[in-house]
Every structure is written in structure tokens, then in C-alpha cells.
């Protein structure tokens, strides 16, 4: 015998709901919202049926499976696949040259691929451009730092289609100040503002690789989907493609968050004509749609300086670069002291 325990959550704040015998409604202790049992059951049922649609994902590679290889790095456990490659294969993550080929089977076939359109030479140049205008970058880093390695990887992404609906309410104000006799009078008009609306999203990308830092992948977005093509193994030679190690349901939380935040932000932008608008309540409902699987091109560049490895990621389609740079503490404090001294001198002369 199985028992299903359902903990009802407040649609407004996700706090636990409890039944109040006095009002005959389910009430939230955290935000004070209350709902009828029918409302909550309807919403819970909607949530249960609103799982992401992964039905279109398939393992059938057809004739393309021939010549495809699956590799595991014994050093960092990265799992990759690629077409017949010439020469040795190095792990794109840890650089280990002894990757082990395995039997290629049981892998989901990507739906889409964006081929690399930025060549290796441009990636190197882009890194130099990335250093430009960074006053706090140590001069030694600029001069002596050499690219240790540059690797092109097709990174697995889940692309989520969704429609997000939100119901927001705000406390908005308009303030006007006038002078009446000896008094300055400030009149504030208060408004209760409500907005309900939706936003449809197509192919919100979330990287499906546990090894690839999410913040790096977010930072090199967006990709131009006009270049998105149905997957063809012909684009793989010369590059390795990482096997996804987080499934679509696992990564969905990030897509949910981004879609939810976006619809709320978009609705908030329609609250105009007020000086302040403080959000009082939000209820976000996601209509989860189709999930597709894509390989997107990323150049990974690593450099070493003072024993520390610096990683840079570059969008292999648009050339957008991301990577944190070291700060020269000496320069930092010199600039700090310079700005302090000049400002203090100007103020001293002005005030005296």
C-alpha cells in the first residue's frame, strides 16, 4: 500500500499552508494569503501536469553512430563523444592525453547544433582584447601570461520552451510637494496596482554539464539561434562534444527561475507613472513546454600566472568572452591614494 503525502504550498510565497477551521480556507502563516481547497487542488494538479516535455528527445543516431566514439577521462571523469579524430585526444577539462575510448551507445542524440564560426586564432586575439582597458590588470600578467591551452568544445545545453504567467500587485505612490504659506506640504497619493500577464520563451539555454561552470556559460550568452541547425555529426571533427551529465529535469530549476523573473520584470516595467512601486505579492505560473537538446560551441582558454590557473570561456559563435582577471593590489592602492589625495586637496582649497 502506498500513501501519498501532499504538503500544500502557498502559491504566493511557497510557504506551508494550513487549514483554518474558522475561515474554512487554507491559510499561509508567512504572507497571510488564503485560498479555498478547490483553488489549491486545481493549482496543485496544474503543477503536477506541468512537467517539461522531453518526448522529442531520442537515442536513435541512425547511420551517424558509425565512426562516433565515446571517451572517458580517467583523470577527471569527464565524458565526451566525437567523430573519428586524427591524432591523440586530450581531455578538454584537465588536459589529460590518455582518454579512454568506450563503446558508443545509449546516448541521446542532440536535436540542434550551432557550428563553430569563430576560429582558434580569433579566440586568442579576443583574449588580448579582453585585457584592454583593464587598468587594474597586473602589467606582468599582460606581458608574461601565455595561453596554456585553447580547446574548442561543444557544450551540451537543454533548450526550454515555456510560457510564464504572473500575477503581481504593487503599492505605488505619487508624491507632490508644494509650499503653502509657512509650510512645505508633501502630498502622497497611494495606489493599489495589479498586473497579470504572460511572456512566451523559446529555447532558454541551460548548460547540461556539471563540469562546465554555469556562471561562465551564462556570461557568454546569448547565442544567435538563426544559425541553429539540426544536429549533424559532420560538424564534430576537430572538436569534442561533452556528454550531458545533468538531465533536463535537473536543470529545469534554472530555466524556471529565469523565466519567472523575466515575466515579473516585464510586468513591473508596465507600472509607469509612479515615483515608487513596491511589490507586495507575486504568483508565478509556468506552462512548461518542449525541451530540446543542443550542442553549442565554446572556446575554453586557460592561462597560468603565479601558479594559479585562469579560465576564460568564449562563445564560439559570437566571440563574446568571459573570465575574471587578477587585480594588481599595488595599482589598486595607488589609484585609491591618488584619487583620495586629489579629492581631499580640491575640497580643502574649496572649503577654506
Amino acid at each position: 500500500m502506498t500513501t501519498e503525502i501532499t504538503n500544500y504550498q502557498c502559491p504566493a510565497c511557497t510557504g506551508p499552508l494550513h487549514y483554518s477551521a474558522e475561515t474554512g480556507r487554507l491559510e499561509c502563516d508567512y504572507c497571510g494569503s488564503s485560498y479555498t481547497a478547490e483553488e489549491i487542488e486545481k493549482r496543485t494538479a496544474e503543477r503536477k501536469t506541468a512537467a517539461w516535455d522531453t518526448g522529442s528527445l531520442q537515442q536513435d543516431w541512425g547511420g551517424e553512430a558509425e565512426g562516433m566514439h565515446f571517451y572517458t577521462c580517467p583523470s577527471c571523469s569527464a565524458r565526451m563523444f566525437g567523430r573519428d579524430t586524427e591524432g591523440s585526444i586530450c581531455c578538454p577539462y584537465c588536459g589529460n592525453p590518455a582518454v579512454l575510448p568506450e563503446q558508443f551507445s545509449g546516448l541521446l542524440r542532440p536535436d540542434w547544433i550551432i557550428p563553430f564560426s569563430v576560429p582558434r586564432s580569433e579566440a586568442i586575439q579576443a583574449l588580448q582584447n579582453h585585457y584592454r582597458g583593464k587598468i587594474l590588470l597586473p602589467s606582468e600578467f599582460r606581458r608574461r601570461n601565455h595561453i596554456e591551452e585553447i580547446r574548442g568544445i561543444y557544450v551540451p545545453f537543454w533548450l526550454y520552451d515555456a510560457r510564464a504567467e504572473a500575477d503581481l500587485s504593487f503599492h505605488a505612490t505619487r508624491t507632490m510637494t508644494t509650499v503653502e504659506g509657512d509650510y512645505e506640504v508633501t502630498r502622497t497619493q497611494h495606489f493599489h496596482v495589479e498586473r497579470e500577464g504572460s511572456l512566451t520563451f523559446e529555447k532558454v539555454p541551460v548548460d547540461a554539464s556539471e563540469r562546465m561552470p554555469d556562471d561562465f556559460m551564462d556570461s557568454i550568452e546569448p547565442y544567435d539561434y538563426s544559425a541553429l541547425e539540426p544536429f549533424r555529426a559532420a560538424y564534430l571533427p576537430g572538436f569534442l562534444a561533452e556528454r550531458y551529465d545533468q538531465d533536463a529535469q535537473e536543470c529545469a530549476e534554472r530555466a524556471d527561475l529565469r523565466c519567472g523573473n523575466s515575466v515579473c520584470e516585464a510586468l513591473r516595467e508596465t507600472v509607469i507613472g509612479y515615483q515608487t512601486a513596491a511589490e507586495e505579492h507575486r504568483d508565478v505560473r509556468l506552462h512548461r513546454g518542449k525541451v530540446s537538446y543542443a550542442l553549442l560551441p565554446v572556446w575554453i582558454l586557460t592561462t597560468k600566472w603565479k601558479g594559479r590557473t585562469y579560465m576564460f570561456a568564449m562563445n564560439g559563435q559570437t566571440g563574446r568572452m568571459a573570465g575574471d582577471l587578477p587585480v594588481d593590489r599595488k595599482k589598486f592602492w595607488l589609484i585609491f591614494a591618488g584619487v583620495y589625495a586629489v579629492t581631499a586637496l580640491v575640497l580643502f582649497l574649496f572649503l577654506n
Partner: protein, 266 residues
């Protein structure tokens, strides 16, 4: 002959000085409300006499049960009536300042008379003086309050004797505060500016961050609005009295009777 002239001049001088110094004053402290002990009264009286002599401006303290006995109008009029009635003041101009406390409704008035008193006890100085003793009188600490009146008056008279009568612009406490503000501005504003500049430069070294939105992937840039309500609920009103800087020119406002005054409640 020469010696005789010198002696005559000396006698004239010594004869004049005691007249000035020993100018008969009806009182310096008149405690009709019975707020002070005899010892306290004597002590305050001797202090007031000493300051009065030093600066040639009489200082007087009077407490009464009800000022309306002396003048039916205001507490200021009562103070003026007392000043004139007792022929207070020093020198030909009858320079002096009187503090009157009336216990019936806890009123007080400070009145000054004579050019020297007006020069020293400016409108600002009277307010400053009152600020000094009001807390003590409010706590029924009469001796302490009168003591503060005398200390304050000494400061006011000393500053006038140094040709810097107490005004907003010459108030040592205000000058100290202004100096501290200037020092704080010179210290903290550059600190904030240096911090802002270096933090902006440092933030440019970071280009990696998680994304929290997905607007780029929205089919349409604008949301489809299904419900829009803008409901006016109420208006709130806050009124602030505008501080008019009327006393910016400083000085002393002298009434038709020749007295300048300041009054209030303690």
C-alpha cells in the same frame, strides 16, 4: 607745583574709580518666590556683582510668584517694570540685563537695557543664554540654573569686550561644529570617491556572473497583459514648517522702550 598737579590728578582719578566700582546696586538677586537658600543667594549675588563690576554691565536675577502683580501684560513687560522700578543698570546708560522667573505659569524673560548691554546681549546671545539654563530650571534646579545664567552672561560680556559679540557666526560651539563638519567632509568625501573609483575599476575585472533572467529568449519583448488595475486608495499629507533664516544679519532688536528682550517658558 608739578607735584601738586600730579597729586590733584591722582586724587581725581582715585575719587572717580571708587564711584564707578562701588556704584550702589539695589540688588543682584531678588528671590521673592523663595527658590534659593540664603547662602545660595549670597553666593550668586557676589558672583553677579563681580561680573557686573568687571564689564560695567549689571546682571540681575529676580524670581516672583506671579509677574502680573508687576505688569498686567506680558512677562517681558513685568521684567521691564522691575528694571525701571528699581532703577537698575550701571553707568550713565544704565547698562544691565535682568532675568525674571515667574513661578505661576513658569514664565521667564530676559531684558537688556543700554548700548553696552544691547551690544553684548544680541538676540542670538539671549537665545543661547536661555538654552543654557532652561534644562536646569525645568528640573527645578534653581541655583544651578542661575549659575548657568551668570556663566553664560560672563561669556557673552567677555566676547563683546573682545569686539566679537556672540552671534551665529561667532558662536564658538557652532564654529567648532562647522570645523568638525569641514574636517569630516575633507576626510570622508575623498574616501568615498576613492572607494567608488577603485570599486568601479575592480568590477571591470569581473565578467562572470549567473544570469537571473531570460528576456533575450522571449518571443515578444512585451508581456501579454491580461489584467491591469490602477486603483487609487488614499492620500497622505505631511507638513513641515519652513525655517526662515530671518536672523542671518544678527544684531539686537531693541523695542520702543529701549529694552531688548527674549522670553518663554521653563
Amino acid at each position: 607745583m608739578r607735584q601738586r598737579l600730579i597729586l590733584t590728578a591722582f586724587l581725581c582719578l582715585t575719587a572717580f574709580v571708587p564711584v564707578q566700582a562701588e556704584e550702589e546696586q539695589p540688588f543682584h538677586v531678588l528671590d521673592e518666590a523663595g527658590l534659593l537658600t540664603d547662602v545660595e543667594e549670597d553666593e550668586l549675588s557676589s558672583q553677579a556683582a563681580e561680573i557686573s563690576r568687571e564689564y560695567g554691565c549689571g546682571l540681575y536675577m529676580v524670581s516672583v510668584k506671579d509677574y502680573t502683580v508687576y505688569a498686567p501684560g506680558s512677562v517681558t513687560e513685568a521684567a521691564i517694570a522691575l528694571y525701571q522700578g528699581y532703577d537698575l543698570g550701571m553707568g550713565q546708560e544704565r547698562n544691565g540685563t535682568l532675568l525674571l522667573l515667574s513661578m505661576a505659569d513658569r514664565d521667564y524673560a530676559i531684558v537688556s537695557y543700554g548700548n553696552a548691554a544691547h551690544t553684548a546681549f544680541t538676540d542670538y546671545a539671549k537665545e543661547w543664554l536661555a538654552d543654557g539654563f532652561l534644562d536646569a530650571f525645568g528640573d527645578d534646579s534653581w541655583y544651578e540654573g542661575f549659575g548657568q545664567y551668570l556663566d553664560g552672561s560672563r561669556t557673552i560680556l567677555r566676547m563683546a569686550a573682545e569686539d566679537t559679540p556672540l552671534e551665529k557666526d561667532t558662536d564658538p560651539a557652532r564654529l567648532r561644529t562647522a570645523q568638525m563638519m569641514r574636517t569630516a567632509v575633507i576626510f570622508f568625501v575623498p574616501l568615498a570617491a576613492a572607494l567608488a573609483v577603485t570599486m568601479i575599476l575592480k568590477s571591470r575585472m569581473k565578467s562572470v556572473a549567473m544570469k537571473r533572467e531570460a528576456r533575450h529568449y522571449a518571443v515578444s519583448g512585451r508581456p501579454e497583459i491580461s489584467r491591469q488595475t490602477d486603483l487609487y486608495t488614499h492620500t497622505t499629507e505631511v507638513r513641515h514648517r519652513i525655517e526662515r533664516n530671518t536672523g542671518s544679519s544678527g544684531g539686537t532688536t531693541v523695542g520702543g522702550s529701549g529694552f531688548s528682550s527674549h522670553s518663554g517658558k521653563f
